[in-house]
C-alpha cells in the first residue's frame, strides 16, 4: 500500500517538474495515437462492410459453393425382366459402361493418352466436345455423355488411369440381353431417347437415356422402365467423391422396373419361327377364352440381340434396308385379302340376316355365273347345303350368299344392306384396330359403302359389282391378328376378348381390365354350330385334310388369296379342340400357293405342339415345312399389302 502511494507521489513530482514539456509531448502523441487507431478502425470497418455484403446481403456465394461440391448422380433402375407364360426368362439386363465428362472439371488432360485409351483421334476428340456443347441441357458443371458403351477392356484400362483423366468418369448401367433369338417383334427393343421425348418428359429423360422403342418394351415402358433415382454426392476440388450430401437426405432410390410375364408360349413361338423360316408371312395363335396371344410370328424375323450394344445403329440401318422388311411387324400391321376363310364369316352373317339357312343349297357348275360375270370354282359335288359348301369351299355358293346379303330386299337400298354387313364385320374386329398392347397395330381394310360410291357412283353398284368380297377377295384387307381374333370369336361361339400380349405384371394377373371384357359380335350364337361343323369337315375330309390330327378335333378353313403380284397367299385359320377350344390360330404364308400346302400344315403342327406339347408325330411334314424355301421368289416391296381382284 505504501509502495503504491510512494509510486504515485513520484509521478506527481516528475509531472510537476516537467509539466509543460511533457504535456506537449502527451498531446502530440495522443493525437498521433488516435490518428493511427483511427486508420486501424477505418480499415476494420471497410472489411466488416465487405463481410456484410459477401456473407449476408449477397447469397449467390452459397449457390456457387453448392455448385462446387454438389454433384447430382442418376441411379438407373434395373429394367423389368420379360418372361413367357410359363415363366421362362426371355429378356434380362447386362452391364454396359458409359463414359461421362464434366467439362468444368477437365483439367490438365493428357489428350494423347486419353485418345489412345478410348481409341479415337484428336480430331474426333475435339468434334466430340463441340457436339456435347451443342446438346440441350448442356452445362459446364453437368455430366454429359462422352462415349457410349465402352468395351469391357476399354473400361478396365480407363479405370486404371481414372486419376489422370480428371473430369471424366464411367457410369455403369445395364442394357438388354435377349436369351432367345425369338419373338423379336413382340419384345421390341430399346433405344436412346429422342429430343422430342426428352422435351415431353419434363426433364425426366436425359440425353443418352434408354427407352422402349417398339414392341412390349415400348407399350409397357412405364412398367418396365422403373423410376430413376438421384444421389447427391459431395466432390472435392479434384472432383473426387467425398461422400453423401446430408447423409443422403435428398436422395431418392431407384425403383426397379416390373417383371412382366408375356402370354407367349416360348416353345410354340420357337416352333412357329422354325416352321416359318425362309418364308414371308405371319402366324398368330390366341387362347380364345382369354384373348392371350400364345404365339405371334413375323417372318422374316431378326435376332433381337442385334439391337444391343454400340453397333445397334448399324444393325438397325441394315435391317431397315433389307427388301424383305424384317422390321415390319406383319401379324399386327400387314393387311391380306383373307380369301376363303372369309366364307366362314359370311356364313354367320348370312344366317343372322336370315338369307341363309343350314339347308340352303346352291348349284355350282364350275363357278358362279351371273350377268356375264364368272367366278370360277373347282370340281366338287353339287348342289350342297351350307355345311358341305364350307367343307369344299364352294366359290359359287358364297357368291350367292354374298349376293343375298347385299341385295337383301329387307333393306330399302343396297347401301343400307352393305352398311349392315360392314357393321357385322366390324363387330368381328375387322377393318379397325383391336387394341392389342403392341405398338404399330394396323386397321386392315374393309371398304365402306362410300368407298364404292366413289368408284361406281352412288346407287350405281350392288352385290354383283362387288361380288369378289363374298369369297374374301377384292379390296378386303385383314391382318393376321384380326384373322386369329375372328377364329377365336368363332371358337367362342360369338365373342372375343381383345388379344393381348401381357399376362402378368409382377404378381398382378391380367393387369388391364380392358382385356377381361367379352366383345360379343352381332351374330347370334345359335348360328355358330353349323358353321363350326363345316370347319370340322374341312379338316376331317375337306380342303385341309393335311391338317388333321387323330384325336384332336380341329376346326379350320383354308384360304388361297389371289394377288396380282405373284403366287397366291397361302392362308389357314383354325381352332382346336372343337369343344372348349384352347387355341385359335391364323397362318399366312405370302406367295406360297394353296392354303392347304403351307399354311394348314404349319397351323396343324403348332396346334399339336400347343395341345400335346410335342410335334414329332409327323416328321416328314415338319421337314417339308422347315425346309420349304419360298423366299427365292421375286419379293415385291408392297407384297404384303396387295390389293387383289377376283378376276
Amino acid at each position: 500500500m505504501f509502495l503504491v502511494l510512494a509510486f504515485n507521489y513520484q509521478i506527481l513530482i516528475i509531472s510537476t517538474l516537467h509539466l509543460p514539456c511533457i504535456l506537449f509531448a502527451i498531446m502530440e502523441s495522443q493525437i498521433k495515437q488516435k490518428i493511427l487507431f483511427g486508420v486501424f478502425i477505418f480499415v476494420a470497418l471497410v472489411y466488416v462492410i465487405r463481410l456484410l455484403t459477401l456473407q449476408i446481403f449477397d447469397d449467390s456465394y452459397v449457390r456457387y459453393a453448392q455448385n462446387n461440391v454438389l454433384q447430382e448422380q442418376t441411379i438407373y433402375p434395373a429394367r423389368g425382366l420379360l418372361m413367357d407364360r410359363n415363366s421362362e426368362l426371355l429378356v434380362y439386363n447386362d452391364n454396359i459402361y458409359d463414359l461421362f465428362v464434366i467439362p468444368e472439371q477437365v483439367k490438365k488432360l493428357d489428350t494423347v493418352s486419353f485418345c489412345q485409351v478410348i481409341g479415337i483421334t484428336k480430331e474426333e476428340f475435339i468434334a466430340r466436345f463441340e457436339k456435347i456443347k451443342r446438346q440441350k441441357g448442356y452445362a459446364i458443371y453437368r455430366a454429359s455423355v462422352f462415349e457410349k458403351q465402352l468395351t469391357i477392356s476399354t473400361y478396365a484400362k480407363f479405370q486404371e488411369m481414372l486419376f489422370d483423366f480428371q473430369g471424366f468418369f464411367v457410369d455403369v448401367r445395364t442394357d438388354r440381353k435377349y436369351k432367345y433369338s425369338n419373338a423379336a417383334h413382340i419384345m421390341g427393343y430399346i433405344g436412346e431417347v429422342t429430343e422430342k421425348t426428352i422435351e415431353a418428359s419434363n426433364g425426366y429423360y436425359r440425353m443418352g437415356d434408354f427407352i422402349g422403342v417398339s414392341g412390349v418394351e415400348k407399350t409397357y415402358e412405364k412398367e418396365l422402365g422403373g423410376i430413376k433415382g438421384v444421389r447427391y454426392v459431395l466432390v472435392d476440388s479434384k472432383s473426387r467423391t467425398q461422400g453423401r450430401y446430408k447423409a443422403g437426405e435428398f436422395d431418392t432410390a431407384a425403383i426397379a422396373g416390373k417383371k412382366i410375364n408375356l402370354t407367349l408360349d416360348l416353345k410354340l413361338q420357337e416352333l412357329g419361327e422354325e416352321l416359318m423360316q425362309n418364308k414371308i408371312g405371319s402366324v398368330v395363335a390366341i387362347e380364345p377364352s382369354t384373348g392371350e396371344i400364345l404365339s405371334m410370328v413375323s417372318s422374316p424375323a431378326y435376332d433381337p440381340n442385334l439391337f444391343v450394344g454400340r453397333d445397334r445403329g448399324n444393325h438397325y440401318m441394315e435391317l431397315l434396308r433389307d427388301p424383305s422388311k424384317p422390321l415390319f411387324n406383319r401379324p399386327i400391321a400387314a393387311p391380306y385379302p383373307p380369301g376363303s376363310i372369309f366364307k366362314i364369316i359370311m356364313s354367320l352373317i348370312g344366317q343372322h340376316e336370315e338369307v341363309l339357312f343350314p339347308n340352303t343349297e346352291y348349284y355350282c357348275g364350275g363357278g358362279f355365273n351371273s350377268g356375264g360375270l364368272h367366278v370360277g370354282c373347282h370340281a366338287h359335288g353339287s348342289p350342297l347345303p351350307l355345311q358341305g359348301a364350307i367343307a369344299v369351299s364352294c366359290n359359287a355358293y358364297f357368291c350367292h350368299v354374298y349376293r343375298t346379303v347385299v341385295n337383301n330386299p329387307k333393306y330399302p337400298k343396297v347401301e343400307d344392306a352393305y352398311n349392315k354387313l360392314y357393321d357385322h364385320l366390324a363387330s368381328f374386329g375387322m377393318g379397325r384396330k383391336l387394341g392389342v398392347d403392341l405398338y404399330g397395330e394396323g386397321t386392315g381394310f374393309v371398304p365402306k359403302a362410300t368407298y364404292y360410291d366413289k368408284i361406281y357412283g352412288r346407287n350405281h353398284w350392288q352385290a354383283l359389282t362387288t361380288i369378289s368380297l363374298g369369297i374374301g377377295q377384292g379390296e378386303l384387307g385383314i391382318t393376321p391378328l384380326q384373322m386369329a381374333n375372328a377364329t377365336a370369336l368363332v371358337a367362342n361361339r360369338g365373342y372375343y376378348i381383345t388379344p393381348h400380349i401381357v399376362r402378368r405384371i409382377e404378381s398382378r394377373k391380367n393387369p388391364n381390365p380392358e382385356y377381361n371384357i367379352k366383345h360379343w359380335c352381332s351374330v347370334d350364337t345359335s348360328y355358330f354350330p353349323v358353321v363350326i361343323n363345316g370347319m370340322e369337315d374341312v379338316v376331317n375330309h375337306g380342303t385341309a385334310y393335311v391338317a388333321r390330327i387323330p384325336g384332336i378335333a380341329i376346326c379350320g378353313k383354308t384360304g388361297t388369296a389371289q394377288n396380282p403380284h405373284g403366287k397366291d397367299h397361302s392362308i389357314f385359320f383354325a381352332f382346336a379342340p372343337k369343344d372348349n377350344p384352347k387355341i385359335a390360330i391364323a397362318v399366312v404364308v405370302e406367295n406360297a400357293g394353296f392354303g392347304a400346302t403351307w399354311a394348314a400344315p404349319i397351323a396343324s403342327l403348332m396346334i399339336e405342339q400347343y395341345l400335346t406339347k410335342k410335334h414329332d408325330t409327323r416328321p416328314a411334314l415338319v421337314e417339308r415345312m422347315v425346309k420349304g424355301n419360298l423366299t427365292h421368289k421375286p419379293i415385291l416391296n408392297d407384297s404384303t399389302a396387295t390389293k387383289t381382284s377376283a378376276h
Binding site: 493511427l36 487507431f37 486501424f40 476494420a44 449476408i56 462446387n68
Partner: protein
Amino acid sequence: MTQQQPKPAHIDWISLTLYVVFVLSGLLCIYASVFKETNPNIYDMDMNYGKQLLWIVISLFIALLILLVDEKLFYAFAYGFYGITIILLIATFAIGAEIKGSSSWIRIGGFQIQPAEFAKFGTALALAKFLSGYNINFKDIKVKLISFAIIGLPMIIILLQNETGSALVFASFSLVLYREGLPGWLLLGGVALAILAILALLFPPLNIIIFLGILAVIVLVFVRRTMLLIFLTIGIVAISSIYVSTVNYAFENILQAHQRTRINVLLGKEVDLKGAGYNVQQSLIAIGSGGAFGKGYLEGTQNKFRFVPEQSTDFIFCTIGEEFGFLGSLIFVILYMLLLYRLLVMAERQRSKFNRVYGYSLIAILFFHFLINIGMTLGLMPVIGIPLPFFSYGGSALLSFTILLFIFIRLDANRVNELKSFE
C-alpha cells in the same frame, strides 16, 4: 538492486490472453482446413496441424524464455540480432531451398525456416535502439536516412529473394517513423503516390497527366497566386507525370507476368477464374457462403474439399468466414482491433523510447499483415502471400510473431522496474 524478473502482475495479461486465443483458434482453423475424416488425429505430425501444434509448443517455450531473461538483453544485443538476421538473409542465397518459386527458405532437419520472418523483429529492435540513442533527433536528416537504411536493407534483400509480400511488410515501419516525428504529409504523400500508381495502372498515363494538368490550372485559378505556389504546383504535376510514366513502365517491363496478372485481376482489368483469379474467387465463395452464422466447425465444404488453395496458410481467414460466418469474422476483427488497441495503449505508456519504438514496430507489422491478408481474402487487396499473424500455418511466422509480441510484453512488464530505478 532492482529485481529483474517481472512479477506476474506486471505482465500484460490482456495481450497475452488474446495471443493464446488467437494461436489456439488458429490451430483449430488449420485443423479444419487440412484434416481428413479418415484421419482426425490432431497430433499427427505428418499433417500441418500436428506440425503447427509442435510449433505452438516451441513458441510458448520461447515466449516463457523471453519473459524470464533480462530485458536489457534486447537493448544490448539489438544490433546483434539485426546483424544475425541480415546474415541469415544473405545466407539464403547460398544455402537456401527453393519452395514455391521463392528462395527464401533454409532447411533445418524436417523444417524450413524463413529468415525473412525473423528479420522483422531484428529490424524492430535495431530501429528502436537507433532512435532511442542519445542526441538522436528525428528532425535530423542523417537520422532519417539511417532509419530508412535500417529498414531498407532487409527489405531489399527479401525483395531479391522474390518474396514481395514479406518485403512489403517493411513498409509498415513508416508508421513507426510517423509516430517518432516523420511528418504526416510525407505519409499522406506516400498514400497519394500509391493512389497515383493504381490510377496509372488503370488508365493510360497520358490521360492522367492531362487530368493532373487541368486540376493544377483550376487550383491556380481559384487560389491567390504566389510565385511559390505556382512553382510548387507545376513541380508536383511534373513529378507526378514522371512518376506515373515510370510506374506504367515498371509494371510492363519489370514485374513478372504472374504478378502483372494478379494486379490486373485485382483491378478488374482481367477476369481469370482459372489462374490468379481462382484463389480469390474460391476465397470469396468460401467466405460468402458462410452466411450469418457459418456452416459449423468442420462443415465448410469449400474448406473441407480443398477449393481454396493455400487455405491453411495465407487463406486461413476463409475457414473463419465459411465455418463461423459473419459472426465469427466480426468477433475476429473485433479481437484483432482489441489487440492493436491494447498494444497502442501499452506503447504509449512506455517511459523508454526504445520500448515505445519497438512497440510501435510491433503494432505496425501486425496491422500491415491484417490489412493485406484479410484484404486479400476479401478480394480488396492483391494476392500477396503474407500470413495472418498467429493464425496461419507456418512455424517461422508463428515463432517470429511470438518473439515480436513477447519481447514487447517483457519490455512492458519491466516499465515498473524502470520507474523504480529512479529512486
